[in-house]
């Protein structure tokens, strides 16, 4: 009888131990059925159930806070490029305004010969082209700023790199910063495109600042390279010929709130959020740098192989 009791208790006891061990490795959802005995083991099991439910609640809170932080970081990244965006929208707006004025003047003064009408049609076409230019930027700002869905999908990495440049290109151009791209075509990863874009914009903004610090108006060069490392891994490298970092700075770049920028300029969150995003995609991000010789950020991500090629 005692022996039977011990066996039974041991099974229940082991169930409790298993649950605790599962939680320790991240399987937070544990629920142990209590026995009718309501003995000490049940009290322990009940404690484990409460712990499991509390941990899941805290995890959800933490995930919510993390999502808000990433979104705030995204808006901060948009703020970083906003002056270039204003310039890029104001120019086509000025052009459209100018052509519309010309069309109105022509019509008011009755200039309607076939040649004059053809000229007006050309003005309208130019206006349309500039409106479309604005449309691309505005649509992209809205897509980028929207709170992103958590879902990941197989995407062409080169496309994501190109999209992130839409938002920052004008600013780089105005600062005489040349962007050299060397993107291997066809490489895919299972990603959240808007979050990855956020990472690239952070890296490009930092590269821009490092170049301005080193060369001022003379500008500089950013290189973006995308390549397959292995059959299962790809690498994106964003490098610049900016001011570079010493070892102490380099070792802290991914720490939250670490910034070398003036108060009010940098949040110190861009790279730390980027680090979190890359990690969430099962990847790694690293930095190599040398004072006076620029910096390079290397992102490695698991490759997505389309089903037809995966087995070949």
């Amino acid at each position: 009888m005692n022996q039977d009791m011990l066996c039974f208790d041991r099974a229940r006891f082991e169930r409790v131990v298993d649950s605790i061990e599962n939680m320790a490795v991240g399987e937070l959802w544990q629920e142990i059925l209590l026995s009718p005995n309501r003995d000490e083991l049940d009290a322990l099991a009940h404690g484990v159930n409460v712990l499991s439910s509390e941990l899941r609640y805290r995890l959800r809170e933490l995930q919510g806070a993390q999502a808000s932080l990433i979104h705030a970081g995204k808006l901060a990244a948009l703020g970083e490029v906003s002056s270039g965006l204003a310039h890029e929208l104001n120019n086509p707006l000025t052009i459209v305004t100018g052509y519309v004025e010309r069309v109105r003047e022509s019509l008011q003064s009755g200039r309607t010969s076939p040649a004059e009408l053809a000229e007006l049609a050309a003005y309208l076409e130019k206006s349309e082209r500039n409106l479309e230019r604005m449309n691309v930027i505005i649509r992209h700002i809205m897509e980028f700023a929207r709170e992103s869905r958590p879902a990941k999908e197989p995407m062409l990495l080169a496309e994501v790199v190109h999209k992130s440049l839409i938002l920052i290109n004008e600013q780089l151009r105005l600062k005489s910063i040349q962007v050299d791209m060397d993107l291997q075509a066809g490489l895919m990863a299972e990603i959240n495109p808007s979050k990855l874009e956020q990472v690239f914009i952070n890296l490009l903004s930092n590269a821009r600042d490092a170049i301005l610090e080193a060369h001022g108006e003379a500008g500089g060069r950013i290189r973006v390279r995308l390549s397959a490392q292995t059959r299962s891994e790809l690498e994106v490298e964003v490098s610049d010929n900016g001011i570079g970092m010493d070892e102490e700075t380099r070792s802290k770049v991914f720490h939250p709130f670490f910034t070398t920028k003036d108060v009010g300029r940098g949040t110190g969150l861009g790279l730390s959020i980027s680090h979190g995003i890359v990690q969430d995609h099962g990847g790694t991000i690293a930095c190599v740098s040398e004072p006076g010789h620029g910096s390079a950020f290397l992102i490695r991500l698991p490759r997505y192989l389309p089903p037809e090629t995966a087995g070949s």
């Binding site: 002056s83 204003a86 310039h87 104001n90 120019n91 707006l93 000025t94 052009i95 459209v96 305004t97 100018g98 052509y99 004025e101 010309r102 003047e105 130019k126 500039n130 151009r173 105005l174 600062k175 005489s176 108006e217 500008g219």
Partner: protein, 123 residues
């Protein structure tokens, strides 16, 4: 015959240059897409007015104003900008023009300023 007024237009946006050239069809207009070629023109020719963008690759329009006013002390300077921050007090600048602006209104402004500078009128 009265001499035509000479105008230098500087913007990295070619279509803005085209629109302004059309608006100032009765002027002698030269255009430049960056500060470096504008400087070159300022060195070799004389101008009554300069209309320049501020933010351009390869050098700021504000530095160009330094050169323009040094080379041609009487030049009327108009600055186009997409930024609505309060412009710094700059006595060399006749008018700040905020993008997007009306080209017609810009022309009127330029004519007013130039007429004020040249009471005898060369227009």
């Amino acid at each position: 015959m009265t001499a035509r007024l000479r105008l230098l237009l500087v913007d990295d946006e070619v279509e803005i240059l085209e629109l302004l050239t059309m608006a100032f069809h009765d002027f002698d207009v030269e255009t430049a897409v960056n500060a470096a070629s504008a400087t070159e023109l300022l060195r070799t020719k004389s101008f009554d007015a300069l209309i320049t963008d501020v933010r351009m690759p390869g050098g700021s329009g504000l530095k160009l104003i330094d050169q323009a006013t040094a080379l041609h002390p009487g030049i009327a300077v108009f600055v186009m900008t997409g930024h609505h921050q309060e412009p710094a007090e700059d006595t060399r600048v006749a008018r700040w023009l905020f993008k997007p602006f009306s080209v017609t209104a810009l022309r009127t402004t330029v004519l007013e300023v130039l007429a004020g500078r040249q009471p005898n009128g060369r227009m």
